[in-house]
Structures are given as C-alpha cells and as structure tokens.
Symmetry: C2
Subunit: 765 residues, 2 copies
C-alpha cells in the first residue's frame, strides 16, 4: 500500500478503530519530555508516527566550531533541545531522535513582536537577538502536540504535525509590529560551510516555497518546503549573511532585501510582517519534500487541506493511539505506563517516512525515484537499531519493517559502492560506526518470514555488501580472518561485528536453501575466535603478523581497538554463539562469575571520563547500558546454570536506567534502540541474536500485556504474582503447557496464544 | 512536435532532404573561427544547431578577481577562447556565443600523458599544470567539428556534438601513463565562490555521472552530466580543493581520493588513467541534462547509441547543412559566402535547446517541468536579439521562434515576479540590460501571425510584465511618463526602450482586437517625447521634478543616463515612430544632416576608451555598430528624402564590420544579433521596428538569394547589375510589379514570390 491520501484520512479511520476497540487513552502516558535532559537526546516537539516532519523547539544553536576549534557543546544539541536551557531559539522542522551524532534542524521559525531582529542572540543575552525566554511551567509536550509560552513576546506557540506537514499556531498580543522569522541558516551540527545553498520564493501573499541544501553529517542533503500562512503577509524581507555574490543584474534594478519575491544564496534569514489584534492566531502550515517545492505543496494540500488546528492535533493523536495500542499492558504504576508508552513512542519515530504522498523520493544517487509498492524510509541508525528495534518492528510493525528492508534495498541499488546502508539519512550515507548491520535486519526479516520483498535479491545484496574489500578493513578480514590493529583503530570490535553479521547472512542463506553461502558465511562467523587471547581471556587487538598487541587496557575505551566500549564489555560480543564463547572463556561457572564482575565491580574514576554518550548513571559497575554493545549481555546468564541472574539483572537495569522524568534516559535513545530494549525486557523476553527466531526469557516487569498483531491475532503475556521484589520466574507456561526452555520463538508469538509467567521473590535453579 | 528521437535520426532525414535538393555544400563556408579574436566573443568548437552542448576549447581560465580585485581580463574570455593565446586549457561543454557578459564553461576535459597534474597551469608556464601548447596550423574549426593537436602531449583532439551530447575523440601516443582530466572547478566567469556544489559518481569502469551547481551570472544553476568512456578506466581519483568538510564517516573507512566511486564537495578535479598503444583512440561521450544524471544518460543513449565518431560528425554537419540551406545565395565571392553562412551559423546557435529528449527541463522556479507540445529553449539575450534575430527567426525559423515564445511564456508562468524573461539562461533570470523586450518578440510573432501559442495569454503576459512597478524605475515611468535620472543610472535609455516596448504591446493588442489596451499602450509609447530636450535636440536625463540635468555630455557613454550608447546614438531610438522623431528633431532635411554627422564626425579620442564591448574598428564616426542601440539607425534615412544614403551606409557598414577572419567581428556577436543584422542587410531589407510587419529596404550586397520558407514556399531575391560600387537601388519590382514604397511586408515574403533589385552606381531620388 502506498500512503497516498495523507495521514488525515488514515488517522480518522484509526480513531474509529480505536473507539470500536474500547481501548484506554494511551496517548496520555506518552511523555516526550523524557530524555530531553542531558544524554537522552530526544526532543519534546510534535511528530506523527514515523513522520517526515519533527517540529520541535531548539533551545540553542551551537556552532560546530568557534574560531576553528571544535565546540564540545555541539554534542549536547543533537536533538536541538536541552531541558536545562532557559531560552527557545525557535521551532525547526527536522530532528533526529536520540542520536549521538547530529544534523538537521531545518527551517527554524519563531514568532516575535517589536523590532525585527535577524540573529538568534545568545542564551545569556537573548534580547540581543530573536530568541525568547520560556518556562517549563508554561510548556506542554504530548505525542503529536507541543505548546509553550514565549515569555518575551507574550506569544503562545502551539505545534502539531502530520507525516509531512508541520502545523504552527501562534496566539499574538495586539501589535502593529508582529513578525514571523524564518531562519534559513539555523541548523543542528552547524558550521561555517554547512549552508551550501538556500532558495526562497514568495509565491503570493500567503505562500512561500524554497529549499535548503546543506553539507553537514549528510554530505549532499536538500530539503524542499512549502509554507502557507493563514493571514496575508503585509510585507517581507531578508538579510543576506553571505560574504558576497557574483554580479547579477539585480543590482540597481531591485532592492532584494525587501519585498523581492525570489532570494537565493548561501546564508540568509527572512521575516514576514503582520499586524495583529489581541489574541489573534496566525497559523502556518509548513510542508516538506525530499524532491521539490511542487511536491511539498502537493503534500501540504493532501495532508492538511484546511486550517483546523484542533482537528489536525486530534488526528495525529489518534494516529499515535493506534500505534500505541498495538501493545496494551496491565500495570498499577502510572510511571511504568509512562515509561512503557513513551518507549513505544520513541520506538515509532525513526526511521522516518522519506517520500512524498505520490511516492517520489530522492535516492542516494541524487535522482528522483518512485517507491513502487512500499513506503520509502530513511534515518537508519543501524549499528544501534539492528539489535532490538528492527526485531521489535518484525514483531509489532512487520509491514513497516518489510518496507524498511525495501528502502534499504533501493539504497543498495542506487549506491555507487553497491552496499546496503551503514548509517544513512536523507539520500546520504554517513558511514557512521562499524559493521554492515543492514544484513542483520534483512536476515532477521527473512528468517522470520516477514518478506514482502524479494528475499533472493536481499541475500544477494548482503553478500555483495560483505564483499566490498575496500570497506573499513574488510579485505584484511576476508584474507586473515580478522581486522589487524595496525590497519584500523577499531579492529577488534569491527572483527566481532563482521563475524556476527556473517552469521546473519548464513542464517538467511540457510532459510533460502543456499548451502554454499551458508557454509561460507558460517565459517566467517567464527572469526571472533581470531581476536580472542586465551592467555588473558579477553578479545584483544592483533597485528597483521598475528601477534597480539602488548599495550592493552581491558577497561579503557580509548584507542584499545573497540568502538563505544571496552574489551571487558566487547568480549561478550558473540551474540550468535554464546555457548562457544562460554567454552572459550572457561566454562559456564567461570563465565557466570565473569558476568557478575561486570555488573558489580567498581570502575576506577578515570574510566568514567572516557565513556562516550552516557551519564554516570548509565553505568552499572562496568556494564554500560547507554552504549549498545552491552544490550544482550544481561541475557547471557541464560546460557550458564544461573538464568535467574538474567532475571535479576534486567529488572535492576530497567529500574536504574529508565525513569519518567526529563533525565529519565541514562544514554542516547539512539533512534529507539534503548526504548526497544526497554519494551522487550519489560514484556519478559529479548532477541539476543537477531537473525535467529528466538527470544530469550528475562523477567516481565508488568502485570501483563496483550500484543495485537498485524495478522489479526493476539499474544497475551500473563504475569502471575507480580511484585517489585518478585523478579524471579518460577515457571512458564506457553498456551497452558510448561515451557521447558529459556526462549520462545517468533512463530509461537505470531501464531497467537498466551505465555504465563509465575513470579517469585526466590530464584529457582 | 517534441524532439524525442534525438538529433541523430532528424539529421539523417535532413541529409536525405539535402541530397534530394541538390544544394551545394554550404557547411564549407562556415568559419567558426570568425569572431574569436578580440571582441567577437564567439567560440570555435563543436555544436549542433541550437544545441544544448557547445563543446569548445578554452584558452584560459581567468578568475573573476585576483586578491579581491576585479580582473578586467575576465571579459575577454566570455566564450573561453581568444585567438591570440598559445595554450589550450581544455575542452568544456557549455559556452555562450558572442555575449558581453559570461558564465558557463562547465566540465572541462583534457587528455594528457605523463605525470598527473590537477591544476590548469598558466599561459606563461603551461607545464606547471595540465594545459597544452597548440598552433593554429594544427587546428580545424568547422560547423559541428573541431580538431586540434595538443603539442605538449602529441595528442590529436577531435570534437563533435549532437544537441545534448559532446563527443570527444583523442588519439594518444603509446603511454603507460595516459589520463583524461575532468576539471570540475574550471569555468568561465569563475570566482572563489562560484562553485556551490559538485557531485560525481563512478558508476562502473566506463560510466561516470554527476552534476555541478554554480553561483555565477546565473545565480542558481545546475547542470547534470553522464560521461561514457570507450575504454575501461584502469584507475581513477580526485583532489579536493575545498578548504574543509564536515565530519562524515568516510574518514578512516575509505581513502576518498583514489578509486572511491562517490565524491561530492565544493571544488575538486578528477582524473582517469589508461594505458594506450601508439595511435590508440579514446573516445568520450559527454551528455548534459538540466534535470538529472538519469536524464543525461537517457539523452546520451538516445542521441549517440554507438561509438562511430565519423558518423556523428557527418550527421551534425548534415543538420547544419539543412539549417544553412534555408537561404541559398548567389555570390562570386568566397569571403562573402563565408561571411554569410558563418552569420547563419552564428544566428542558429542561441537560444539553445534546454530540455531532455523526453521534454523535461528545469524551470526558473527550480522545479522540473515537461515541455508540452514545444521545444523549450534558454539563453535569451533579449536586449540584443529582439532587434533582428527574433524577426529573422520569425521569417526563416518560425516554428522555433514560436517555441521560443512558448519557452518565454513558461518562464513567465514560473517566475516569482510574474515577468517575462529579461536576460535568462539555464533556469535563471540574470536581469541583464534594460527594458522588457520579451514583449517585442511576442508582439512581432503575434503581428506576423506566427502564433502556435495562445496569443491572448501572451498579450496578458506582456501587460503583466509591463506593470511590475518595482522593476527598474517602471513605477516612476508609469506615473511620470519617464524614468527620472535621480532614480536610476540609465534613466533615458530605459525610458526610450520602455516606450518602444509599449508600442509593441499596443500592436499586439491591435492585432488581437483589444482597443482599450491598444489605446493605453499607444499613449505610453509616446513617452520618448518626455526625455527629449528640444533646446538641444537630444534625449536628455530628467529629474523627478521635471528639470533636465545640467551636466550632460552628448558624446559620452559614462553616466549620462544611457546604457551602451551615448545621447547622440540613443536619441535616434524611436524605431516605432521615426516620422514623429524627425519632426521633433527639426524635419527631414535637418535630420538627414544629423544622421550624416553621426557617420562622418571625428569622435575625440577620449570617447573611444569608454565605449563598451567593441574594438576601435567597431566605430564609424560616432556610429557604434558593435553596440545594438544603433542597429536601426542607418535605415532611418528612408524616412527622409535621402533613402539612397541608407543604401550607401549599410553597404559601407557591411564592408567595414564583417570580414572572414578571426578578428572579423568588430564587436560582440551577442548571441547572433550582429549576424542577423548582417543577414538581413545583405539580403536588402531590415526590420526597423519589430512588432511591425515591415522590412525597410537597404541595398542587397549579393548577386541574389532564395529563401526556402518553412511553409514550403520560396521567396527569391533577384539582384540585377550588382557590382561593388553599385550600392544604389534604382528600381525595385515585387513579383514583377514596381514597388512604390521603401518597405516590403512579412506576408509578401511568406506568400512566396520574387523581389527584383536593379542596382546602380548613381543614386536616384
């Protein structure tokens, strides 16, 4: 199905469905403010599920560097908003959710009254520019709706959004001097040369169109817009901040800075003037397109034909209700519900829809393509999301996940390198992090039978991707069985990740009956053994000549051959073969003790400072929940004789790492990966090795849940004798029959039925 | 008809037609080298008639400024080539023909052997870079074909082109170190910030695609390409000349400078390496598109499916033959034939086809449009070309001219200002020069009945254009009847041009029966009277308060209220009502004397220096043929009692201003306007006031001619008793009947027939 009628009508149907279903209002439990303080890197603004527009306040615009020196604070503003800030610069239309690197922040709008100021000003001295002070007391953040009072201007700002259109509603005081500022230079991860080109046309007195091309994290990224005002513009203008331009005949013929309808340049900001009466609302519809201003306008007309702000807000909240109620949980705790449904909300933001209502999108080859039979998505933070988010989609959003695979295959087809995406956004490959984890997502979908796409073509894409010798040490890996530490800085973690990815390819090949590929990649999947140093019991950097590196600190994350993790944590990274890992590390008992140490040791202070992307709270002993490579570790007790320790640890992690508060996330949410971990773990099981059909049991943290599956079936999670201290699972029944293993399979869930957990405060064997 | 099968097949048909017709080979008379020395600003390279590709050698790449100071030499290189230069930098794919301002020069290619150098080097020290010395002895320039030996490398370079594809053929010596350099920074009118963005993909070992976006004279201009090699690339690479780029994950994962298939940035140059045997030919097909790399490839496949260089060369020369033979002339003089057919050639270069083979093109709104039922053209140098070139097209290329009008109407529809083009190229309005002369082109087509377009829509576009008050003093003109000299620098010439343009609108309205518009614009057309100072007998700058400016020099072109002309010349600019002008200037006798002075006076030296765009040879007395405002002046004797002086003067101008030599043009050819003047005048008549259906008689300079009209009819020009000294016309018969007036009408020509001139060395009355 192609989304062609806009979210509006879709949402109306869903609202009807929701009412029929008689489900509780779940939108009330979504707290977008969770994670906006410190390291969560979420944003509080308005977005539709998987929507192209993320309309959200930015509380500062930090340049990437000041006087040629990298500005560390830029990292804080990955999502544009930090809860502790006292000013709002404006509301921009694109944001990543929870990332550890940044971009976007396009098309910042702020309503003002008084003298026109066309620079943002500073947090310390907001009146030097256009930004406004605000208070959290006057702030409301809901799924699909955000409201704040801009104290300086006495303007109430309200935001909502459909998939492709941001909808602003500003309530002004009486003023002869009211303005809408459109800052076309503002952006996240901004630096001097980020603005490549900006183009704006005032088509008539209520319509403005244009585009912005940036060279940021995405190297060649263009976003087109159409902006419609509910009230005619009285006059307008702009200031050009570019150093200079070539001669054009404009000079002498026109004053381009005022009421001239076609502006283009590297850097400029525009304003639109109005007279307002007391309490007058000026509304703005701001539509995006990856392709053209014509298509942006088409998207606007399709998704928000009128000016009824309340209706659009209700529609998008109904759309959220429909997504949230795919899992209904039982819990006495409001905070638990808030944590759960906010996690669901965060899981359903990225990847985003990246095509117009007619299916047009820009490919990585910079040509315009049409998505034929699928919704095209972008923002693939795959190093994070292959772990739990895509498996979660395979379970609860299988249609979308299959479309995401199709989007990745389109990327592969259009890629000059003939590779599946590594970390891609907006028709760009940013090559971030390591591995080729697309293959995990493809294999997981194939193994679980969620293939509306051509599985043979997908397997071929996996093989081609894993054969591109010039990619990040891959040639060495293929030849030697490991990436030598004299060739790349992250040689060990990359070797481990390649080995896991290769196992995924083998699983897909097996499912598709290709024994040759299966055997070849199963062999490659054992390459993790080549970086294990039995003399110390850890994975360890190894030179091209086969020798292990001497200088080596298993606790340090600095230049030890690993990315976002130390040897201690990364040595557990054999998710596809824990049994062999355990044998290699000395057997079950020793391994369980080793795991115990991880969670309980006291990490010397000096190591905290060098741990990326997380707050101190994000570390438990030496276990770093805020960094993804550890996400499966707590479940590894299941392969020892002490599975009850998995149950204990995961309940402890849930409690320590997720709270319903602005600082409720201990690390970057990473496009929903942290949230997906929370959801799985709260429900009582987790996909330790995507590409397998097994979900390994933990300890459900709620009183029960029902999964409303896309195939029409339901899978019920019954939790008996649930209490805070009853973290241990005494017994499990599947459809009334005792379950004599520590995992359930994908098909057992998809077939519908019931799993019953019996909880206890004492662990069994 | 939409051109959809490519020039190839069209050309084949035309070749067949030509053979049937039994016409002499006219391509032999085309000397593209004419005008390449000094001020002609033509280029010698290969282009198809009205083709999108102009593949031509550039002999220097002058930056717009050096150390922040404007570099005067940039003007010399409007067409990239100056005959006196000793080195060729390379061959680029886009060139204006004959302009006085510049842009383009996209995608410069040069074949080299030996060490790779990725900078152009200097004329004084070519070996410091990649450029090569060359000699005119080893140079051949024909219509659609160019050949030169690159002495430094011992490489023969041959170029030909279809409408959308440049075809290179390089004959190499034996070398293990042969290269094709693709300079993606080279350009005409280059300055530091011209390069906005450049994108390149090596799709496979014979195909490269990409695009280049520049901020030059065209502010937002993007050209897409597809480049195909006849031999697989052995290896490739690039050097990035940009200051820096933001972090992308490339770093550490890839060496982007060598064999990495996707490069993007502000400024880089690429190379492709080969091994060649002695005499081995490497061929390159280089296709352009205004829209996408996909479409560039489509254009390539449609227009040059194979690799037969000779065949493509023959096809394009057949296409030229077909255009040239639309007028066959009789002349004993080879030089006259060369002047004539080179003028035809230069007239049929601009405007250029600006759409893909499927009709797609980029509009001025930066959206992709499809030309529905017409060929879309760009490069409208209208201040020049409305005078004689478009009237010439109305006569001999009516289909193309109507399509050009459609292209201008599409521009109007897509323009944010709702104006017809002023000077437009490649989806940009550069606003160059003055007036709104599009209306002349539209009115001329309407009045002459050459309307495949909606004439009512065209009239509406003219009216809207002439009503945009904020354009270049137009509001003042509408209110006061003239542009005050305290408001713009070219107040007088602009007033005169507006008045003429308004008369054109009136003529179109009359033809379409709109009396109200006719009356209104006829009134506006008299506004030239408002800047005439009867006390001195010249047009003169006037202040807002109605007073004429005191400080005023009728001979100077510097800051006197005129553009490209002094008061002396511009005071004759009432082409639509010479009779009234004559009365205003004191009657026929005084006016004729005044004209005599113009052609015979001795202009003090100091005024030469300030005369733009022409060589000293371009000035006859105080008459400046190289600047267009004078082009009708010699014909004004027809309104006095001394029409024989028109005959005398035009023959003299033809002789002095046009020669078959590199320096054969005394001023910029201006996209064919100078050439169109030559053609009309040589044939014996000239459109003094486009928008009227009258061609005023001069003195035919050849022995006879036949116009092969598009409607299938022929119009024969018979010249009796032609000799060099027989410049006077004794008698004229039209279809055997004496012609008792000094003009013929458009329909008299289009109906077919014969005009007979009887020449004499003595003037009659």
């Amino acid at each position: 199905m192609r989304i062609s009628l806009g979210l509006l009508f879709l949402a109306m149907n869903l609202a009807a469905f929701s009412q029929q279903n008689g489900t509780e209002n779940l939108v009330q439990y979504v707290k977008p403010i969770i994670g906006t303080q410190r390291m969560g890197h979420t944003y509080p603004g308005a977005t539709a599920p998987f929507g192209m527009v993320q309309l959200s306040p930015d509380t500062d615009t930090i340049p990437y560097e000041t006087n040629g020196k990298y500005n560390g604070d830029v990292y804080k503003y990955c999502a544009g908003y930090q809860y502790d800030d006292k000013t709002i610069v404006g509301f921009s239309h694109t944001h990543f959710s929870g990332t550890g690197h940044s971009d976007l922040g396009d098309f910042l709008i702020i309503p003002t009254v008084g003298d026109i100021k066309l620079n943002p000003g500073t947090a310390d001295n907001p009146t030097s520019g256009y930004r406004s002070t605000f208070s959290h007391n006057n702030e409301t953040a809901e799924a699909g709706y955000y409201k704040v009072k801009l104290d300086r201007y006495n303007i109430d700002a309200e935001l909502t959004a459909t998939a492709r259109v941001g909808f602003h509603q500003y309530t002004f005081p009486k003023s002869d001097n009211a303005h809408i500022i459109l800052d076309l230079m503002a952006g996240i991860y901004n630096y001097d040369d980020k603005d490549v080109w900006t183009f704006m046309r005032v088509e008539n007195d209520t319509l403005v169109t244009g585009y912005r091309q940036t060279n940021g994290w995405g190297r060649t990224r263009t976003v087109y817009f159409a902006m419609s005002f509910s009230k005619p513009i009285a006059e307008y203008g702009n200031e050009n901040f570019d150093k200079k331009q070539a001669y054009h005949g404009f000079w002498g013929k026109f004053d381009q800075s005022k009421n001239f309808p076609e502006i283009a340049g590297k850097r400029f900001r525009a304003y639109f003037n109005f007279k307002t009466s007391e309490g007058e609302k000026i509304k703005i519809k701001f539509a995006l397109s990856p392709v053209s201003t014509t298509n942006a306008l088409m998207n606007m007309r399709a998704e928000i034909p009128g000016w009824d702000f309340e209706r659009v807000k209700n529609d998008v909240q109904n759309a959220w209700q429909n997504e949230l109620q795919k899992i209904t949980i039982q819990s006495q705790s409001k905070e638990e519900k808030e944590n759960f449904y906010t996690s669901m909300y965060h899981a359903f933001i990225n990847p985003i829809t990246y095509m117009d209502v007619d299916g047009s999108y820009k490919g990585i080859d910079q040509n315009v393509h049409k998505a034929d039979g699928f919704t095209n998505y972008t923002v693939f933070s795959l190093w994070d999301t292959y772990r739990a988010l895509h498996p979660f989609f395979n379970l609860i959003q299988p249609k979308r996940n299959a479309d995401m695979v199709q989007s990745m295959l389109a990327h592969y087809d259009q890629s000059a390198e003939h590779m599946l995406p590594v970390w891609s956004h907006y028709a760009n490959e940013n090559w971030c992090m390591s591995g080729y984890h697309s293959v995990s997502v493809l294999a997981d979908a194939i193994v679980k039978g969620n293939t509306t796409f051509d599985a043979g073509r997908a397997l071929k894409a996996c093989i081609t991707t894993s054969s591109f010798r010039r990619f990040d040490g891959l040639g060495y890996y293929i030849d030697k069985g490991y990436v030598p530490c004299d060739k790349t800085g992250t040689s060990v973690s990359t070797t481990l990740e390649y080995a896991y990815d290769d196992w995924c390819i083998a699983q897909a090949a097996k499912k598709l009956g290709d024994t040759k590929v299966y055997n070849e990649y199963m062999k490659r999947s054992e390459n993790y053994k080549n970086v294990f140093d039995p003399s110390i019991g850890y994975m360890r950097p190894r030179y091209s000549d086969g020798k292990f590196r001497e200088k080596f600190d298993v606790l340090s994350t600095n230049d030890q051959g690993f990315i976002e993790g130390n040897a201690w944590n990364f040595s557990f990274f054999v998710p596809h073969d824990p049994a062999s890992l355990i044998a290699m590390m000395g057997g079950k008992k020793k391994f369980a003790q080793h795991l115990d140490s991880l969670f309980t040791m006291e990490l010397p202070d000096k190591y905290f400072a060098e741990t990326e992307d997380i707050t101190r709270d994000g570390i438990i002993g030496n276990y770093v929940h805020g960094n993804e490579p550890s996400h499966h570790i707590a479940y590894l007790y299941n392969w020892t004789d002490q599975p009850w320790k998995t149950q204990e640890r995961v309940r402890m992690i849930l409690k320590k790492q997720y709270r319903s508060a602005p600082d409720g996330l201990g690390g970057n949410d990473d496009c929903g990966q942290m949230s997906a971990w929370y959801i799985f773990t709260t429900l009582g099981f987790y996909p330790v090795a995507p590409g397998s059909d097994q979900y390994w049991l933990g300890s459900p943290a709620i009183d029960g849940a029902v999964l409303h599956l896309e195939n029409g079936k339901t899978f019920t999670i019954e939790v008996n004798n649930q209490r805070h201290r009853n973290v241990y699972v005494k017994k499990v029944l599947l459809n009334g029959q005792p379950l004599n293993r520590l995992y359930i399979t994908h098909s057992e869930i998809m077939n519908g039925g019931k799993i019953s957990f019996y909880m206890s405060d004492k662990h069994g064997k």
